[in-house]
């Protein structure tokens, strides 16, 4: 590692300042605000607020459909993470077999990533559109009368489908570059030591890919929990009730549609704690099994 010496000892902090400012303004500050307002009930018309202690938390956890939504969110997160990670990995393994050394193809494939995410949500919801959606049309031939936004399970399916689809290129690229980072001679040694390609993958390739996989696991869980907000919104917005939503979307609904700032703050604090615990768990228990080269 190269060490850079700064002449002025404040200079490094100056360089860090913009990044720190962004973190403080967009992360710490809202977090503190959320924690604070989770203990108050805000007057709906904005005429002050009343301290209510833990009542918001109690209401959030035991009131209404919070637990149902939490269960859905857990499933949603697991399914999206597992599917997008495994499909991304599968595609990367297939591409890697062809791409060894051919960097032109690699660039072409990676370019997909730059296009896909911003367009994905919109394209996805058109895909499942009740009237013009090709997917809906396709499955209707098999007798599946798909009603996204009306039928709970159909909506969940569309949400998962779009979320997975949007995340695949991201996982694909990281997996591919992880695979290409595995030394050729180590693979070759494995070809001599082990006949079965499948076994080689499990015993050599995947363990060497574990830092990438671990990183992606965390990224994908965060993505499923938070970044799918836009997708959930496109799919269920202005649709009849009784649609599956994730916790983040419920926070938004309660806070900005229901004007229950205290309640939604309490929910976001709960979510924050869950993610915090989850991350610590991942680093404590999973990372031990990760091999950093």
């Amino acid at each position: 590692m190269k060490r850079v010496q700064f002449n002025n000892r404040f200079l490094p902090y100056l360089f860090l300042l913009p990044q720190m400012a962004v973190i403080v303004i967009f992360f710490y500050w809202p977090s503190i605000q959320a924690i604070q307002s989770s203990f108050y009930i805000e007057d709906p018309f904005g005429f002050g607020s009343t301290f209510v202690g833990l009542r918001n938390y109690h209401d959030a956890l035991f009131g209404g459909d919070y637990l149902n939504i939490a269960v859905f969110t857990v499933w949603f997160t697991i399914v999206v993470t597992v599917l997008s990670l495994s499909i991304g990995l599968l595609l990367a393994v297939k591409a890697d077999a062809i791409l060894r050394g051919a960097s032109a193809y690699k660039t072409a494939l990676i370019a997909v990533y730059a296009v896909a995410p911003p367009a994905a949500g919109l394209i996805g919801s058109m895909f499942f559109d009740q009237h013009i959606g090709p997917f809906v049309k396709l499955v209707s031939y098999f007798g599946w009368d798909m009603k996204v936004g009306v039928n709970y399970y159909d909506t969940a399916f569309a949400m998962i489908f779009i979320s997975v689809w949007k995340q695949i290129p991201y996982n694909f690229i990281f997996c591919l570059s992880g695979l290409q980072g595995i030394p050729v001679s180590v693979r070759e040694a494995a070809t001599i030591d082990c006949r079965s390609g499948f076994r080689r993958f499990w015993t050599v390739i995947l363990p060497l890919l574990s830092p990438t996989a671990f990183f992606l696991l965390i990224i994908n869980m965060t993505y499923s929990l938070f970044d799918t907000f836009g997708i959930v919104d496109t799919v269920v917005k202005d649709k009849a009730a009784n649609n599956p939503v994730t916790l983040v979307y419920k926070i938004y609904l309660d806070g900005f549609r229901g004007n229950d700032l205290g309640g939604s703050s309490a929910q976001s604090v709960i979510l924050m704690i869950v993610v915090f615990v989850l991350t610590i768990f991942q680093f404590r228990f999973l990372e031990r099994r990760v091999h950093y080269g």
């Binding site: 001679s185 070759e188 001599i192 079965s196």
Partner: protein
Amino acid sequence: MARIEIARVSKIYTGGVRAVSDVDIDIADGEFIVLVGPSGCGKSTLLRMVAGLETISEGSVSIGGRRINDVEPAERDIAMVFQNYALYPHMSVYKNLAYGLKNRGTPKAEIDARVAEAARMLELEPYLERKPRALSGGQRQRVAMGRAIVRKPAAFLFDEPLSNLDAKLRVSMRGEIKQLQKRLGTTSIYVTHDQLEAMTLADRLVVLNGGRIEQIGAPLEVYHRPASTFVASFIGSPAMNLLPATVFNGGILIGDQLSGLSANLPNGHVTLGLRAEDLRLVTQGTGMPFTISFIEDLGAQRLLHGLCGGHPLVVAVSPDLDLPANIRLTIAADRLHFFAVDTGKRIEPGPAPVQPAQNGTETAASEAGMTAGF
């Protein structure tokens, strides 16, 4: 058990690069073959075709009588030692050694026994539980060797296994590899560009140049009778002196100078090969005149760099030899090498002429001098 036959093997890479051309090597069971040649001559490519890591474009390879062109690398019954060791970084030394056996369904007790034996042979016992990254270069190299020997394969393939080690370790590992191979009696193919490594390890040397075999032979045979100027300049250190020379009526001229040497060859131009260590200094009588430009002291040897007949020449002498002011060089007649100027191929002179060599040479040389008009 494992004779390796490489028959008319060629490698043509996509794009038409002909990396290996028509190579024929018949390797006896237990033989240690060293492929040697400059960078890019196709050594690795040839070895990797035997290993199954490259497809064989033309020809065939068989190991122990079985044609293996279309056999998976894992089924060829070979083990390979790579230049950068290629250890599995996530596995302990024990697991690295056991991996190949485990995948072949070897019983646990047998794996333990074989790993223990290899670890003892290679003095790896204290490190069995360590990961490769916690080992020194030399220790990693031993693990790589161990991974090959636990399998008890029909053949060992080595691709420059010592070139990442420092000079001292290289010498000691070289000795160990040789001993190990002799003890196990496993047929081996070893790739190197280091001619010293090649000379010391090989039962037979294969000198490659531009994908073709230049010469196959025992190390000393290659050293004493190089088949071409390429081999002559590649094998031996310092490299053989190659001088343009002219043969006239049995005498040899170097540049425009009389050399005092003779050879039973037809008149014409040849390339004359003289090993630095075969040249002797003489203070009187006939000999090639030699002017020293600079001296390199190597400790055991002293290298005199200078000019002979206008051409650069290196002479190796004992370090405690007093250098006379006016140096002339001589060399035993059987230590002369001749090569064709155009093809670079070795030319064998006929038996020495009946007439006294000394006289014949002098007359021939002076006549040549006049005729050629130097």
